[in-house]
Assembly symmetry: C2
Homo-oligomer: 200 residues x 2
Amino acid sequence: MSSSLLNTLIERLRVLPTVGPRSARRMALHLLQSDRAGGLKLSQALSEAMEKINNCQQCQNFTEQTLCTVCSDSSRDASALCVVENPADVDLIELASGYQGRYFVLMGRLSPLDGIGPDELGVEQLFQLIRSSGVEEVILATSTSVEGDATAYYISDQLVNDDIKVTRLMNGIPAGGELEAVAGSTLKQAFSLRQTFPAD
Amino acid sequence: MSSSLLNTLIERLRVLPTVGPRSARRMALHLLQSDRAGGLKLSQALSEAMEKINNCQQCQNFTEQTLCTVCSDSSRDASALCVVENPADVDLIELASGYQGRYFVLMGRLSPLDGIGPDELGVEQLFQLIRSSGVEEVILATSTSVEGDATAYYISDQLVNDDIKVTRLMNGIPAGGELEAVAGSTLKQAFSLRQTFPAD
């Protein structure tokens, strides 16, 4: 490239998932030729998000406050806690299910080969939250992948001596599936038909 | 989303071509979870590129100087001028062909339906450059799409009364193809076998 700034931009764009050298070049040229204002706004949104977004002290979800909007909403039902893998799962459930309880976001799932164990997911914080805040039902909404199932079993196992109902979204989520790939109506049904976990 | 900064980032990412709402969300979450340093570097590269990259005063290619590296290189052969559609085409030719002349980058091609006429491509500047700087051969390396051909015909038509050889890359580029999709070896051959245009 004739411009070293352009080279740098193309290289930096490759931090984005699924963006290879050719798409990075297309993206950079598109912004320079047709949408510099949009490029500048993206730059600002990126730096603000990277610098100011942290994890909710209660549920680990992304927020720029100490507590996220769900955790700081006193009208939510504190007796139900839904455990999900990702922030995107919270959005999907909020949009689709009418669920009024709270969440805990693991920011991943157990995956020993990738070095992700219970500590990396913050499960100690999860158990503290469950035991200290009057949670009566823990809804395990991790994915139905092998790792998502293992994560659900691990959590339910640790709660077996607590007087807490542990359920898992069962009906409607295809085996091996990510929550993200499930239609809203299916998710709603999966919520209303959730089953005791492990099965009786 | 629980974070308005995150919402803003997801929305802003959609200025990138081919990025829809779902990929934008994946990109944002990936950066927040796994690569904040990369996100900040991307932010900086974006703002620098958008603010500092302009068009070379001679050939229109992107550069952060007044003249691009090719135009400011006095060892290049000023008697040959290769006309391309995009900055990426310059890179491809530089890498593949051994061409030692100069370039003019149209930053597009004639496309009346999109409102892109000769003025938008800077052809007046092109003709001035050709007539004022001792150019002996103009190599039309626009794409072989309908619009790329039309652009080549338009330029050659305007030069018909000048004592200038006008050639067009002919051999090896598939009909309807973009220069970008052509292998380096094909491009090299196309260069060495370039033909007088329009054909005798």
